[in-house]
């Protein structure tokens, strides 16, 4: 090699051209993206952008339309007036109180049952056991069952049938709790699974029992994730209309719901009822109701996101 290098002449014109050519080729290889690829890339990007644009545009349209139509009724009367057949004296008060009562009992049901089921499946049930696997598949299926089915179930077994509670707040709460339990269980399991096994081992190696380990180490570490799941489940339940329809929700109440065994109504039901009315004023009222419902949903989901980002344990 060294011999050859020695024989190299100083640069000639030909050598310069050769060097320039070689550089050009290198530059072309490195920089010049084929035209085809450029087009393909930008096409793909625009298709993706279109997809997100449609999703957001639909939402924006709904909000804008409701704002325009409902702005005249978006005032304090909306929150102080109860149900009424007269559009000018009708408001959301009873519906909001009803929704709060229903949600209160939904939380009471889904938190212990959801966490308990998730703990059993994740910490106690053997991963190979047939029962656990059957339960797991069923929970995933249940999460996809149309919500009206839950309404019919509530009608047959909770309002009437074995429980026979009648058409009251508690009936609605149990029905909605059944509807969202699969979501809570799935999210809670995910949260429990994200606690690394080394934490369990560390606790057990100190002589802690399985229950002490779960109660003092695993569960506290998973609580932010579980709380997020509960709130997301509630925001699903709060907007559900279909399962409440067969449960005899009142569209007109003489007094506001006041406990588990009072007649009930809920925000989406009242809004649905207003939309059905022929009077123009009720349409505006319904639009205002939609705005309130959306705001509540956004608020709840924001809290869920905040909890997740603020408290979730990084391992």
């Amino acid at each position: 090699m060294s011999d050859e290098r020695d024989r190299f002449e100083p640069r000639t014109a030909r050598a310069d051209i050769a060097v320039a050519g070689a550089r050009g080729v290198t530059a072309a290889v490195l920089s010049d993206q084929p035209r085809k690829d450029v087009i393909r890339n930008s096409m793909f990007a625009s298709v993706l952008f279109f997809a997100i644009a449609i999703a957001l545009a639909g939402l924006a349209w709904l909000i804008a339309d409701s704002l325009i139509e409902g702005s005249s009724r978006l005032n304090s009367d909306l929150f102080t007036n109860g149900t009424s057949s007269l559009p000018l004296t009708a408001g959301l008060k009873s519906a909001i109180i009803g929704t709060l009562w229903i949600m209160f009992f939904v939380v009471l049901f889904i938190v212990p049952i959801g966490i308990g089921a998730a703990l059993f499946l994740e910490e106690y049930a053997s991963k190979e056991s047939r029962l656990a696997r059957a339960v797991e598949v069923n929970i995933q299926n249940l999460a996809g069952v149309p919500s009206i089915i839950y309404g019919l179930l509530g009608l047959a077994f909770i309002a009437r049938g074995p429980l026979g509670l009648g058409f009251v707040v508690l009936t609605a709460s149990i029905t909605l709790a059944l509807l969202v339990l699969p979501i809570v269980i799935l999210v809670a399991r995910e949260a429990l699974r994200s606690v690394p096994p080394s934490i369990r081992e560390g606790s057990l190696a100190l002589g802690a029992t399985q229950w002490q380990t779960i109660r003092r180490q695993v569960l506290p570490a998973a609580i932010p994730g579980i709380a997020t799941g509960v709130i997301l489940a509630l925001s699903r339940a709060i907007g559900e209309t279909a399962p409440l329809l067969p449960l005899g929700a009142a569209t007109f109440l003489t007094s506001d719901p006041s406990g588990p065994f009072s007649d009930f109504t809920a925000m989406p039901l009242v809004i649905f009822n207003w939309v059905k009315q022929p009077q123009e004023e009720f349409q505006a009222l319904a639009a205002a109701g939609i705005i309130v419902l959306i705001l509540m949903l956004v608020l709840m989901n924001s809290v869920a996101i905040y909890l997740r980002n603020r408290f979730e344990q990084r391992w």
Binding site: P196, I199, E201, G202, S203, L204, A205, L206, G207, Q217
Partner: protein
């Protein structure tokens, strides 16, 4: 450390280790660590393993190990990867129970009592036989709560602040963390986290401490600190350490067990087998088995 030992023996004569009273009843074991260290009784056997084999899903991981572990000593287990030394270690406090597919056969006597006997509760076993893991695994809590967790769940008597301070001093960590006991343990360095795990372990006053490659994730300085710590700790606890680092075994241990991988005829299945077990001095200078010599001299492995 010296005063601590003194303190302990004073306490032992008076308090008599009431924290383990329920445990002793449960499995009829006398931990009997209340004798002066260094006396003739320190040669007492803590563990007697008799033909211990472990299999996962029927595939053997370690076969027919017979060895004794002595009180007040550091016992090292060395050998190449896959020789089953960690598996063997996890037999000693029944951590293998957490793996549903694991099956242990043979006898593991702890102070004469079979750890796998029908009446033995693994939870009680782990109260007496603590463990430090390969990767530091502090709980996502404050430094203080990491230490206090064990004494609290075991309902140990005494002032919790004192228990925490004693454990942290025992792990040579007190001076580094005494001003930030309430800060989260995840903010500590890896070496500090591992010493916190050791402190957590000694806070519940076990009889034996098992260490599963405790320094493999640490830098040399942290490793040195933990090795010094082990030499201090063996005055109070019997220690069994698994390590892939032969120099570490030579530095800290009194006895060394050398395990080797064995293959079956088809070379499809492999398991670990104990090749030689003797005083560390002898294993590293004059081993009786040529395979041990090849390994410790670096020819194989």
């Amino acid at each position: 450390m010296a005063d601590l030992t003194q303190e302990r023996s004073d306490e032992q004569t008076s308090a008599g280790g009431n924290d383990h009273a329920g445990v002793d009843q449960a499995i009829a074991v006398q931990p009997d660590r209340f004798q002066q260290p260094g006396s003739a009784a320190s040669k007492e056997k803590v563990f007697e393993l008799q033909e211990i084999s472990v299999a996962y899903d029927g595939n053997p991981a370690v076969k027919e190990v017979t060895m004794d572990v002595h009180k007040g000593e550091v016992t090292a287990m060395i050998g190449p990867s896959g020789c089953g030394k960690s598996t063997l270690l996890r037999c000693l406090n029944r951590m293998n129970d957490l793996v549903p597919s694991a099956a242990v056969t043979g006898k593991a006597l702890y102070h004469g009592e079979d750890l796998y006997g029908p009446k033995v509760d693994p939870v009680q076993v782990r109260k007496l036989i603590g463990m430090v893991f390969q990767k530091p695994n502090p709980f996502p809590k404050s430094i203080y709560d990491n230490i206090a967790f064990g004494p609290r769940i075991l309902a140990m008597k005494g002032d919790m602040d004192e228990i925490v301070e004693k454990a942290l001093r025992g792990a040579a960590l007190w001076d580094e963390v005494k001003d930030r006991l309430e800060s989260n343990a995840f903010g500590m360095s890896g070496g500090q986290q591992q010493r916190l795990c050791i402190a957590r372990c000694i806070a519940v006053e076990p009889d034996v401490i098992l260490m599963d490659e405790p320094c493999s994730a640490l830098d040399p300085i942290s490793t040195g600190k933990i090795e010094d710590l082990m030499l201090e700790m063996k005055r109070e606890f019997s220690i069994v350490i698994v390590t892939h680092n032969m120099q570490q075994a030579a530095r800290v241990s009194d006895r060394t067990a050398f395990l080797m991988v064995e293959l079956d005829a088809t070379e499809q299945n492999r398991w670990g087998r104990l090749v030689e077990y003797d005083e560390t001095q002898k294993i590293f200078t004059n081993p009786s088995n040529p395979r041990t010599e090849d390994y410790v001299s670096g020819k194989v492995g």
